[in-house]
């Protein structure tokens, strides 16, 4: 199983940063503030930092797993559990990535439907979007990472837009600091970790990184960037909304953009929503790419076909989610599965791989 990926298909170590960061920043940015402040109030920014720190530990484990197994998570699963169970567990990852990409895509369509086009056909948009995704994945992993790169760099100007909120923000909202119990903070951290989700693709892109050893610092640096980013957004949001007002705002980030006013653009959130295409595109691409890559490894199937199969499955599920309730439930479910994978399964695999190595050495 330890096939070596040819160098011309691999990416430079620092590009791993873009893959991870663009995976972590997605549809969640538009409305995570309300959810995290439900538990810990305006102390929730501390939870943002906390769960950001916890990710470093998970990333460290992921690297250890991949290094020991000399390959991606599929190799690691086979390494630790043998062929049958290993493949079975890997298959679960395919399902997870399908669910995740559906949640992202459907979440975005929901935003468009609420804010811009109430009549937008869900499956029509999803179909065009998935054709785009297939087109990208057919270009190979380098193209996928290219999209991740541009999906991060091009919309970066959106950060400046938050500056408009300063005039209307009151940073005393955050005071007094630590007015909530540690339990509340932890609960809020749990909610936040769902927004951070996505870095698990690292387990699968690992073999595609040139000199993975060097990429470590970049990935950790990327996680720091995301943490700082989310903390900053959380703080600005908390200053801009009074606490009860935030509880009414499902998409707080978009609500904040409503205050933006430029000489040539009166309202910014429409531009922001349209730009979000570029932000969720790498998410879906990396998810489907990972799923198809696992599929290629555990079934005798070409990746070209795998991508199409997965895209069709995604399209069907996206079409089935009809109402806001269903979408929310689905996203909750995805978050929970993701949490289990990242915070329970990864440490478990980590331990199993270490044990397996010991056993095999003997």
């Amino acid at each position: 199983m330890r096939e070596k990926i040819e160098e011309r298909f691999q990416i430079s170590p620092f590009l791993a940063l873009y893959a991870i960061v663009s995976m972590q920043i997605g549809i969640g940015v538009l409305g995570f503030q309300r959810i995290i402040s439900m538990e810990a109030g305006y102390d929730a920014w501390i939870s943002v930092l906390l769960s950001g720190i916890s990710i470093h530990a998970i990333v460290w484990m992921m690297y250890k797993i991949c290094e020991t197994a000399e390959g991606d998570a599929v190799t690691a699963n086979l390494f630790a559990y043998g062929s049958m169970i290993g493949k079975g567990v890997s298959f679960l990852f395919i399902l997870y990535f399908i669910i995740l990409s559906v949640a992202i895509l459907r979440g975005y369509i929901e935003v468009i439907q609420v804010w811009v086009f109430p009549e937008l056909s869900v499956w029509g948009f999803a179909a065009v979007f998935l054709v785009l995704v297939i087109y990208i994945i057919y270009g190979g992993f380098r193209t996928v990472v290219g999209i991740a790169f541009f999906g991060l760099v091009l919309p970066a100007y959106l950060l400046l837009v938050f500056g408009f909120a300063f005039r209307y923000s009151d940073f005393t909202n955050l005071l007094p600091i630590l007015d909530h119990t540690p339990i509340q903070l932890l609960k809020s951290s749990f909610h936040m970790s769902l927004t951070y989700m996505g870095f698990e693709v690292l387990l699968f892109i690992y073999p595609y990184i040139k000199k993975p050893e060097q990429s470590k610092k970049w990935v950790h640096f990327g996680v720091i960037i995301t943490t700082v980013f989310y903390t900053a957004i959380a703080v600005i949001t908390f200053a801009y909304f009074s606490e009860k007002l935030l509880q009414k705002s499902i998409w707080a980030t978009l609500d904040m953009w409503k205050i933006v006013n430029m000489p040539f653009v009166e309202r910014f959130e429409y531009i922001g929503i349209a730009n979000w295409v570029l932000i969720i595109l790498p998410n879906v691409c990396l998810c489907i790419w990972s799923a198809s890559r696992i599929m290629k490894q555990i079934f005798p199937l070409r990746q070209r076909k795998a991508v199409i199969i997965i895209a069709i499955v995604c399209l069907i599920i996206v079409g089935l989610l009809d109402t806001r309730q269903q979408v929310n439930m689905f996203m909750d479910l995805t978050g929970k599965i993701g949490f289990i994978l990242n915070y329970l399964y990864v440490p478990f695999l980590f331990v199993s791989v270490l044990i397996a190595r010991k056993v095999k050495k003997k």
């Binding site: 609420v114 009549e119 029509g124 065009v128 909202n173 909304f241 009074s242 606490e243 007002l245």
Partner: protein, 352 residues
Amino acid sequence: MKLAMSSLLIVSIMMLAGCVEKEVIDDVNIAMGLGYDLEGDEVLGTAMIPVYKAESIENFIFSSKGKISRELIFRMRHKSGQPIVTGSLEIAFFGDKLAKKGIVAFIDAFQRDPSIGSRVYLAVVDGTAQEVLKGSYGNRGNADYFSGLFQHNEEQGNLPLTNIHQFLFDYYQQGQDPFLPLLKKRKDLVEITGLAVFKDQNMVEVVTADEMFYFKLINDKFSRGTVRTEIDSDEVIVRNIRSQHKMELSGRNPWEFTVHITVNGTIQEYSGKFMGPKEVKKVQKALEKQIEEESLKLITRMQEYKVDPFGFGHFAKTRTRGFDFKKWKSDYPNAKFEVKANVIIKEVGIVE
């Protein structure tokens, strides 16, 4: 061949998936102002729609009666040749009768509608909103007139920062009450006559135009404005270039607050003869005293009405762990206040 196939696929998906509702700018009536008045049991809604002519912008009014905001617009559509849309809303006015009864149901409709921006100016009208919206104020259209009226008074005049976001922020902030500008129609024009202060969602008290300067000093992070004072029976007009305020919690039982106000000003007009360093000092002293007295008067008046537009409750909360808002409600009328002003006159103009 593959290329042709895939492009065909994409195009056909788009054809099938396409068609979202269009709102072409010249095929809709863009409501720029909305007004709500209480009439008996029902609410009289008014939509102000600009009609663009080659030379000028004329004003067109739709009105209808109903119970709630969306119903009003829905009924107006029955009368209009093109759909009425509210995405470019600039202003929304409430008649004072309605303001006393409560306006949050209407503002909730604004908040719920993604097409309405956060910079919409809200105001209470002394009289009916309809009469204000019906007028015609200049070639550039009513919307331009109203938003200009608010904007320049906020930036240079005595009007505190206000828009729908600010209102909602205050309304939902615990330990703070919202306020809105108060308008009155005078012949051809509309005047800002003061501020309407709300308790929850009901208008309870009015701040007069003269008090607005002090209101702004305590309320806004940075404020500007113009104030009149007297030294030795000579009139002085001082323009506030930039001021800051700082609240201080000086006691907890009963609650004691000190408000520090720093004003950087220039003298704009002086009816006396000579403005030397001595006179400048006098002006500073006189203005400090005036600000302290008037501000304190304003704060205690608000306290009497049990409204807290300056957010003393919120401020107390930021300095207290486990703050109890219920207790604050009963404590507020007994709270003690002190205002300390510091006036710095930076310039006296280009003559002495």
